[in-house]
Symmetry: C2
Subunit: 199 residues, 2 copies
């Protein structure tokens, strides 16, 4: 049987099992044995594909973040071509909210990773890397909207980008805690955008 396996696909299979466990019990609560059992393989097999737990976590996180990016990209391209900045911003925010199971699981894993990063200098640097690009992209959308006269006057794109990210994060937390529903979170985001755009 050996040698005929697709290494990457096997790793993605294991990553999926890790998500399902980590989304309910956290990354610390996901033992290698549990992950292997969830994936339907043996501990030995899992260890063949990942040298250690850290390597497995890093792979799973990068994979799930890739899926998240693709999901947002799909949301945007699914719209009319040349969508207005406000629409793009809304779909970005919506893609980062836990509106379906995939994004919900991804966010829970992301939070579990966030916790690890809080106490780990190296992980924290890694977690910080993704933000600037997103922030720049959102700021650019605000800039375009402002130039087109679609926003209220006196609005700083960089400030609004950061506020939008923070607001999305906070709404996500409340939705995951079931203080509000995901739909309410999206509605609140819309009310926020209402205040920034004219018409």
């Amino acid at each position: 049987m050996p040698k005929r396996v697709d290494h990457e696909e096997r790793r993605r299979l294991i990553a999926g099992a890790l998500w399902r466990i980590a989304s309910t019990r956290g990354l610390e609560g996901a033992s290698l044995r549990d992950v292997a059992a969830e994936a339907g393989i043996s501990l030995g097999q899992l260890q063949h594909y990942f040298a250690g737990k850290d390597e497995m976590i890093v792979f799973a996180l990068e994979h799930i973040s890739t899926l998240g990016e693709e999901r947002i990209r799909r949301r945007i391209t699914a719209l009319t071509e040349e969508p207005a900045p406000r629409t793009v911003l809304r779909e970005c925010a919506a893609g980062m909210l836990p509106l379906d199971d995939e994004s919900r699981t991804g966010l829970l894993v992301g939070i579990a990773y966030f916790i690890r990063a809080l106490g780990d200098e190296r992980l924290r640097r890694h977690a910080q890397e993704g933000q600037p690009a997103l922030r720049a992209f959102l700021a650019d959308q605000f800039r375009q909207a402002a130039e087109a006269g679609d926003t209220v006057p006196g609005l700083d794109p960089d400030t609004e980008a950061m506020l939008l990210i923070a607001l999305t994060d906070g709404l996500t937390s409340s939705a995951l805690l079931e203080v509000i529903t995901p739909e309410e979170a999206l509605e609140l985001m819309d009310r926020h955008l209402d205040r920034l755009f004219v018409g």
Copy 2:
């Protein structure tokens, strides 16, 4: 030596040790042995004051949330008497941001608890309890400001209260991850309030 100890004070001492460890390694990473060592007592002594780890965590969380409430209350009463709603809202938000070591530690412990609550029905109910009161308080401040004509027109107090909470949470996350500084977080919160109030 026995019999002459203050039970509650001993429990608070242990809770303090738990915070210091949990704020860097999470609640799961804080073993009873580590907490006892941090508190400068033996494992046996710790176990004498808490029947189990869960009991210790619940006590520590309730204690730290009490401290947080007192901190915010102090911030508000430290202002001029009869402060304007905007000022009250700003101080509330500031009190929930990680601007000093005490609040920073408290928030990290709160997040560690938040993670536990995500996968635990009982803890989740408990975590949800605090929100409505805060939300109602903030909404009332917005209502007062609106009636005084201090806010922009067409502003829903309940919506704004929820947005303020979510924004504070999100800014806190970014500040803890050191994507922004706590001071930047407070500034962003001010910019947000700028948009809601006139003058």
